[in-house]
């Protein structure tokens, strides 16, 4: 066996010197770039309440869909991941397919939102958002597209208000919160959530960011920025990188009471699949979901492991259940090149087959 390292001193010196030179030169390119805009697909606010806004997204053509689709995003991070940039936008791709797309922007909670509960969010804000879209179209029921925690919310909502949901699409949505590979869940099991929320009130976004970085500390906090040096001389790539950085760290604080309930009921007690979940005064039984369900998960998801999503099939009441495995990660499912080609067409085709 030979020495596995075959790196000559001069070669190593050149490599380091090249890195230093690229970094020094590339830093100049950061000057003047400023904040990068999201795609900003044309949109119209059709409903607002406190910090929440429901946007109607406008495409180049009139929608051909018979039933509008409301995107329900998570409370962590912002919904603009679905409309990140011109050529990486789930929203635009859906619009191009002819879907009629609405989305909920939850806004940035502050002290006034400290006591919002899951009941306030789901049977209050979300229900009124759904009603706003339903009434606008004169429909009994609309499609929901829930993403991550928003997918979990959509499942709960559909179970509680089945008459208002025609078809349900969930993306990278946790259902079984206690799979053995779920690092986030593992970490919160021994946390005293009451003490945590009583102390912090709203949970600061910076703390949430810290937790996410700690899932893969070297990759997310160092290796990523080492790779950045290679694109510092490419303005377009650099802008894309900075736009993603904006989204990653542009996080809302979490309303304290809703956070307390979510961690306890879902992460610690896994009540959603145990069948003993109650939001406000309403029981949440996944068996009540008899609508068609499309469940899309990412095979390399480090935040929501595939098994956490796939558990839905065992608990949902519908006989029309479809599962799609996307080759990619939790973020790649929206912004990768493969996602642009595969995700929106898959959703569109599935909806069309169900007359929506």
């Amino acid at each position: 066996m030979q020495n596995p390292l075959h790196i000559e001193p001069q070669q190593a010196f050149n490599e380091i010197a090249t890195f230093q030179r690229k970094l020094a030169a590339g830093l100049q390119n950061l000057r003047g770039l400023g904040e990068q805009d999201y795609a900003n697909t044309p949109r119209e606010a059709i409903h607002s309440e406190d910090k929440l806004t429901v946007w109607h997204m406008k495409g180049h053509h009139k929608p051909t869909a018979k039933v509008p689709t409301l995107i329900v995003y998570a409370l962590v991070n912002t919904v603009w991941m679905t409309d990140l940039q011109d050529d990486r936008s789930l929203v635009r791709n859906l619009l191009d397919q002819g879907e009629d797309v609405y989305l909920i922007d939850w806004g940035y909670p502050d002290g006034a939102d400290r006591w919002l509960t899951l009941d306030d969010y789901l049977n209050g804000y979300l229900d009124r958002a759904v009603d706003a879209v339903r009434h606008r179209h004169g429909l009994d029921a609309i499609n929901l597209l829930g993403i991550c925690q928003g997918g979990t919310f959509s499942l709960c909502y559909t179970a509680m208000h089945p008459e208002k949901v025609k078809n349900l699409v969930t993306m990278v949505t946790p259902v079984d919160f206690r799979t053995s590979d779920n690092m986030l869940s593992h970490w919160v099991q021994n946390m005293d959530i009451d003490l945590f929320v009583d102390t912090l009130g709203n949970v600061p976004a910076a703390l949430m960011n810290w937790v996410y970085l700690m899932l893969k500390p070297l990759r997310l906090n160092q290796q990523k920025y080492v790779s950045l040096v290679d694109i510092l001389d490419n303005p377009q790539e650099l802008k894309n990188f900075l736009r993603m950085e904006r989204w990653i760290f542009d996080s809302p604080d979490q309303a304290g009471e809703a956070f307390r309930e979510f961690i306890k009921l879902f992460f610690q007690q896994n009540s959603l699949i145990k069948g003993d979940l109650q939001i406000g005064k309403q029981p949440v039984d996944l068996g009540m979901i008899t609508q068609p369900v499309l469940n899309i998960f990412a095979t390399q998801d480090h935040l929501v492991p595939p098994d956490a999503s796939r558990a839905l099939q065992q608990h949902v009441g519908t006989t029309d259940y479809t599962e799609v495995a996307f080759k990619g990660g939790h973020i790649g499912i929206y912004v990768s090149g493969r996602a642009q080609r595969e995700v929106a067409p898959a959703i569109h085709q599935w909806l069309r087959e169900r007359g929506a």
Binding site: L5, T199, P217
Partner: protein, 354 residues
């Protein structure tokens, strides 16, 4: 060969230092004019400081390169993989970067308590609430000291805080110990990985290539640790201990605020809780009041739709019959309690066909 390596190292270290100095000068130039909020805000970090913290990951990579180079990688005339001592010497260079990275994330985030700790102690001492001499850095806070006299309650509060801080420090030490284990296990994994690169054509030929393997090994070791029962216990205990400290800090801060007539967070929270309850009750009442009307409108809409269908049927039965038949066949499957949405879908379809 050894001279060549030493010369390389000397050149590199000088080069790296010059480059880093240049970056820092650049960042300082970007930090803009001095803080416009004057004297009271001098403790606020400036833009360049934040940027420098973000740049710390790149500096850590620079350190990594330096340590890898100074370990004399790939330069031994003999095969180090058959010399355990040489292997250890080489791999020991990778002990610190992982811990440094974790520490970097901690200090740059809201979760890093240590730097807040010092600032808070200073603030409380200036406010006169922690002026009793005693423990190093935390005067007069021995948990064993019996409390008495007019400051008895304050003494008890301070003792509770001291105990919480000590507990946090102990648990944090356990947490750091686990991260050190990750270091060790990661190095073992790197060694195993490198052993698979001994064949010609599979050798690692760049520092970046080695760095990527090191990251893979460390992340794998970290993931195993982070999913262990021990980590779960220690992590939970660390968070709980930190919250204990923060809560006690808040209580003491609120005490000072009350004495100064400043509203406290508890009071604001209390108001917010009542306000939210009132809003909830209001929404419930509004909903209850609007429901009968909405229900009436809905009933009327259904009746109008039915009348329209009857009218259409009387004008041209053939157009309507298929719908009725379809509706009948949809519901006539012999199963009671057909899902209401199917009925609605049929009704909707009927409406469309008109």
């Amino acid at each position: 060969m050894a001279d060549q390596a030493n010369e390389f190292l000397k050149d590199y270290q000088a080069f790296a230092q010059q480059s880093w100095d240049a970056w820092m000068r650049y960042l300082q130039q970007q930090s803009g004019p001095s803080n416009p909020f004057g004297v009271g805000a001098t403790a606020m970090p400036q833009q360049g400081d934040f940027l420098a913290r973000s740049m710390a990951s790149l500096k850590a990579y620079g350190n990594w390169l330096q340590q890898a180079a100074s370990a004399g990688l790939g330069q031994q005339p003999t095969n180090p993989w058959q010399q355990p001592a040489a292997m250890q010497a080489f791999l020991s260079a990778f002990n610190q970067p992982f811990a440094q990275t974790i520490a970097g994330i901690d200090s740059a985030s809201a979760f890093g308590l240590d730097h807040q700790w010092q600032a808070w102690l200073q603030a409380m001492q200036q406010a006169g609430t922690m002026g009793v001499p005693g423990m190093a850095g935390m005067p007069g806070l021995s948990p064993q000291m019996a409390a008495f006299g007019i400051t008895r309650e304050v003494q008890l509060d301070q003792q509770a805080l001291a105990a919480a801080m000590q507990k946090y420090a102990q648990i944090n030490a356990r947490y750091q110990g686990l991260l050190q284990k990750v270091n060790a296990q990661g190095i073992t994994k790197l060694q195993e990985t490198l052993a698979q690169h001994g064949e010609p054509g599979k050798q690692v030929e760049s520092l970046k290539g080695l760095y990527d393997l090191w990251v893979d090994a460390m992340e794998e070791a970290y993931a195993e640790m982070a999913l262990s029962q021990e980590f779960r216990d220690v992590f939970g205990a660390m968070v709980n201990a930190q919250m204990d400290v923060r809560k006690l800090q808040q209580q003491q801060t609120e005490q000072v605020c009350r004495e100064l007539g400043i509203p406290t967070r508890s009071e604001v929270d209390s108001l917010g809780k009542r306000l939210q309850q009132v809003r909830r009750e209001l929404k419930t009442r509004e909903q209850a009041q609007s429901t009968p009307e909405a229900s009436l409108v809905h009933t009327l809409q259904v009746e109008i739709a039915a009348l329209k269908r009857e009218l259409a049927a009387s004008k041209g039965e053939t157009k309507v019959r298929p719908i009725e038949q379809a509706s009948g066949s949809g519901n006539g499957n012999g199963k009671p309690g057909t899902p209401s949405r199917r009925t609605k879908a049929t009704r909707s379809a009927a409406g469309k066909r008109k």
